[in-house]
Symmetry: D2
Subunit: 131 residues, 4 copies
C-alpha cells in the first residue's frame, strides 16, 4: 500500500502509562493529528470546517497494535485516503523511525456531517482523493 | 449479546474537543477503565500484574462510533470476555444512560506477555471467562 | 479553610504515567472537573455559558503536590470560591479517601471573558459566592 | 530572564477543548515535555532515572495563563533551572511562534526522590545548573 502523506513525531513521556509504553488510546491521537496535518497541508482546516457547521467524524476505527512505542522513540505516521460510498476511508500506519518497525496499522472510516445531517461528500475532501 | 459487567461513568468537560463532543480517543480510555474495573472487581490488579512481569496488552481494537457523548452525559460501559486461541477478546458497548442509546460498540483483542514473551493464558484471566 | 462542595473520584490506570503515579497534569483535570460539577450542581453549565459567548478562563494556577495518587486510589476533590477584584478564586484540595491524606492543595484564579473582553463579574458566578 | 534551552512545538487539535483553545492542563504536558527534552539533550533520561529508583517529582507549579494557544499554532517552550535548597526550580515560558506573544509563564519546583526518600541533589541534575 502506498502512503502519499507522512509526518514525523516523537513520543512524549507523559503519553506513556504505568507499563512504560505509549498508552493505547494515544495512538488514536497520533493518527488523528496526522489526518489533520494532511488536511492542513492541503489548505483544509478541521476547526474552520467545524465553524462552518461541517464536521468530519470518525464512524469506525480498526487498529492493529504490532509493536509498542517507548519513551523517546521517534516515529512516522503515514496515510492515504479512499472513497467508499459515503465514507472517506483513511489507511494509516505508524512505524518506528530508527528501523521502520511496524507499530500500528489502522483503518479509519470517516463521514461528513453538515449541521447534524450525514452528507455524501464535500469538495474539500474529494480534492484529497487524487493525491 | 450479554454483558455480565458494567460501570457507570460521566463525561468530563475536558474530555470534549473543539467539536463539543467527547474526542474519539477518549472512548478507548473509557473502555480500558471498564476492563480494569472488571479485573479489580474480581481481585485481579492490572498494575500488580505489571509489577510481576505480566502485561495484558491490546493487540487489536475495532470500535464503531454510533452516537457521540456530550458534556455532562452519563453513560454505561458494558463488557464480556471470550477466549479465542491466545486471545482474551472483550466485547464492549457504551450506552447513554438517559435513553440507552448506543454510543460505542467495540471488540478489543488482548494477549498476555510474560516478561516480553507471548503466553497462551494465565489463571487470573481464565477465571474471568466463566463469569 | 472550609470547603462547601466536594466530589468523590477514583484514579483510572491510564491517568498514571511511567512512574506508576498519577501524572501531574491530570490533577488539573480533576480540579477542573470538580469546579464544573460545582457549577452544574448550582444550575450553571460551563458549555452553555460558552455557547452564549461567556467563557470562564483560568488566569493562574498554583498547585502544591503533597502525596501522589496511585492506581485504584479513591479521592475527594473539595473547593470553595471567593471574589478578589475581577477574579473568582477557587481554593481546592484533593485528599485520599481512605485516610484523608492531603494530596493536592491548589489556588485557581479564574476570570470571565464576554466575547473576547474581560468583564468584572456575572450573576451566575456571583450567586455561587454565598454558598 | 535568560532561557538557555527551548523547543518548538505545534498545537494538535485534540489538545483543544470545547472552548476551541488548548485545555489548561495540556500546558503542563508541554512544560513537562520541554523539561524532559532538556534532560535528554544533556544525556539524562527521565525514564532511565526512574528505572534506577530515582524519580524527579514536581513539588509545586505556579502557572500564569496569558494568551491561549489555538488549533495549528506553533509555539516555543523555554526554560532555565536554578537550585534553591533541595529544589531544582525550573522557570519556563511559552510564546506563540509567529509573534513571540507570551502565552504561559511558569515556575516548576522539583525535588528528587531516591527509592521513596527525598534527597538534596543528584550529580545528573547538578550538571545542568551551569548550562
Amino acid at each position: 500500500m502506498e502512503y502519499p502523506f507522512e509526518i514525523e513525531m516523537k513520543v512524549r513521556d507523559y503519553e506513556c502509562d504505568l507499563q512504560g509504553i505509549v498508552n493505547n488510546s494515544v495512538y488514536q491521537n497520533y493518527l488523528e493529528h496526522a489526518r489533520h496535518e494532511f488536511l492542513t497541508a492541503h489548505q483544509v482546516s478541521f476547526s474552520e470546517l467545524h465553524n462552518k457547521g461541517l464536521d468530519a467524524v470518525v464512524a469506525r476505527v480498526d487498529i492493529a497494535y504490532k509493536t509498542p512505542l517507548r519513551p523517546g522513540d521517534k516515529f512516522i505516521v503515514r496515510l492515504n485516503v479512499r472513497k467508499e460510498g459515503y465514507k472517506y476511508v483513511f489507511h494509516q500506519q505508524i512505524v518506528r523511525k530508527e528501523d521502520e518497525k511496524l507499530c500500528i496499522k489502522a483503518r479509519v472510516d470517516t463521514v461528513v456531517i453538515d449541521n447534524g445531517k450525514l452528507i455524501p461528500s464535500i469538495p474539500e475532501f474529494d480534492a484529497l482523493l487524487s493525491i
